[in-house]
Structures are given as C-alpha cells and as structure tokens.
C-alpha cells in the first residue's frame, strides 16, 4: 500500500512559476515604456537640434543684414567687418548668399540655408553683391549706395 505523502515542495513550485510570469510581464512592460521614452526623447532631441540650427542661422543672417543696413545708412565710404561662424550648432554646415532679385518679394536679402531649412533677412537696397564664406570674415563696404560683400 502506497503511503500518502504530502509533498511540501508543491506550493513552492507554484509560487516560483507565478513569480517568473510576473517578472516577465514587468520586464516586457518596462521595455515597451523604455522604448517609447527613447523614441520620444530622440524626437524631442531632433526638435531641439533643429530649433538651435534655425536660431543660429537666423542670428547669422541678422548679423550680416543688420551690419550691411547700418553700413548703407551710414553713407558712402562706410564699412564693417563681420566674422561668420564656420558651422551652425551641432556642427551643421550651411551656406550664406547675398540674393538680389529685380522684382518680386524680398528683392534683396541675406540667405542662410542648411540641410533642413532656410532663413533670410532683408537688405535695404537692391544694389548689393558679393559672396559670403562660412568661417571667413566678410568686409562690407558702401560705395555711393552700393553694398559690396568681399
């Protein structure tokens, strides 16, 4: 006759199984939340980088345009030296140009463009020409109301 033996380890086995399931669920939920947070963080970081680039580009365009307008209003013979940054925030390369259109809106302006955007600031005269080199120093001169960027 087989004796009835109560196995003391039975409850412990069930408990261990339940604990593992809890642990798995917790890990899965934590991972999902972590991934969501990482994605949200990355999106936010990209937004901040873009905002920094836009602000820096705006500042650069304003620096050149404001100096050029001041030189224009100061009269013939006036000049100014402006140092351009070599890159935007987070080392983003950019291009800067003096743009003059005979007709249409924003007839004369300083354009600053980078990989994801573009800003411009107006000049007060259409008689403007020259080149802007990132990282260089631009010499703005007024000759009889004509602005030259060199």
């Amino acid at each position: 006759m087989t004796p009835l033996i109560r196995r003391p380890s039975a409850p412990a086995t069930g408990g261990r199984g339940q604990l593992s399931m809890d642990f798995l669920i917790t890990i899965v939920v934590a991972l999902v939340i972590f991934l969501f947070l990482m994605q949200a963080f990355e999106t936010r970081q990209a937004g901040v980088r873009e905002a920094q680039n836009r602000l820096d580009a705006t500042h650069t365009a304003e620096l050149v345009a404001d100096s050029a307008n001041a030189v224009l209003l100061a009269g013939s013979g006036a000049g100014a030296l402006v140092a351009l940054p070599s890159a935007l925030q987070s080392n983003e390369p950019y291009t800067a140009n003096v743009t003059v259109n005979a007709t249409g809106p924003d007839v004369a302006r300083i354009d600053v463009a980078w990989s994801n955007g573009f800003v411009s600031r107006p000049l007060l005269t259409t008689r403007a020409s020259g080149n802007l080199t990132p990282g260089g120093t631009v010499n703005i001169t007024n000759t009889n109301g004509s602005l030259t960027f060199a």
Binding site: I33, L73, G145
Partner: protein, 166 residues
C-alpha cells in the same frame, strides 16, 4: 490575491509614469511656444526699427525715386537733411503703404511671411498728418516703431506698426 496586488501596483506605477512623461513633454512644448513668440516679437521690432531708420536716415536710391517706377528704385528713404523729412517723399511713401504695399514692404524689409504693416505720420498732438491710423488688430503679435523728425518745420512722429497674422 497576490495577482490582484501586482495588477494594482502595475496600474499605479503606469499611471505615475505616464504622468511623469506627459508633464515634461507638455512643459517643453509650452517653453517652445513661449520662445517662438519671443523670437517673433524681436523680429517684428527689429523690422519696424530698421524700416523707420531707412526712411529717416536715407534719401532713397536714386534720391529722385518719387518720379520713378518702383522697379527702378533700389532703396526707399525720405530724408531731406539730417533729422528732417522730405514732404513729397513721405507722401509718396504713405501712398505706397496704403495702395501699393508691395513696393513699400519689399524695399523696406517687411516682405516676410504673414507680415502686415500700417504706417502713419502724426503731429505731436496725436492728429494724423499722413498715412493711415497705425494700429494692429488685437490678439496679434505686434511691434511698434516710432521716430521723431521734422517735417515742414514741424516736429512729427513716424509710427510703423508691424504684426503677424496667425
């Protein structure tokens, strides 16, 4: 019982975590909006001041621009002598501002997305001498530029209001 306790713990933790995630996100968006408004205001103010400086400190290019077509004008300005304005140029400018804002805006650096402007010349008692009543609609981001000058031997105030339509 343990399972229920765990579920309640998990729900509370998730709720707390969601709150902690949403709070900084909404705060960051609020800060972004505030910075954007501040940037717009600075841009508006700079544009208004630059345009008024151009009118006050330059005779225009060429200086006889009032007799020319807008496409032949390189720069607008209304200076007669330092601190004094040319009445005919100012009248033409007011006319441009009221009827042909294209020439007024794109020669004075005001041709920007959603930019609007209103230009007026006032006597010191506040009565309008030239142009239109320079005010911006309420609930718009706006900036006011003002300069004093002499016009026809009288002290006048140039007022340029620039605002952004949303």
């Amino acid at each position: 019982m343990r399972g229920q306790t765990f579920a309640v713990d998990l729900a509370l933790a998730l709720l707390l975590l969601t709150f902690l995630v949403i709070l900084p996100t909404s705060l960051a968006e609020q800060i972004e909006r505030t910075v954007g408004v501040r940037e717009d205001t600075v841009e508006l103010q700079t544009a208004a001041n630059t345009a008024l400086d151009a009118l006050l400190y330059s005779p225009g290019d060429p200086s006889n621009w009032t007799s020319l077509n807008c496409s032949s004008v390189s720069a607008l300005g209304a200076q007669r002598r330092r601190g004094e304005l040319d009445a005919s140029k100012l009248a033409r400018l007011a006319d441009y501002a009221a009827n042909d804002s294209g020439c007024f805006t794109n020669r004075l650096g005001l041709e920007r997305p959603n930019f609007n402007e209103s230009f007026g010349v006032y006597a010191l008692n506040g009565s309008l001498v030239l142009g239109s009543n320079a005010t911006a609609p309420t609930a718009n981001e706006s900036a006011v530029g003002e300069r004093n000058a002499i016009l026809n031997n009288q002290l006048v105030r140039l007022k340029l209001v620039v605002w952004i339509t949303q």
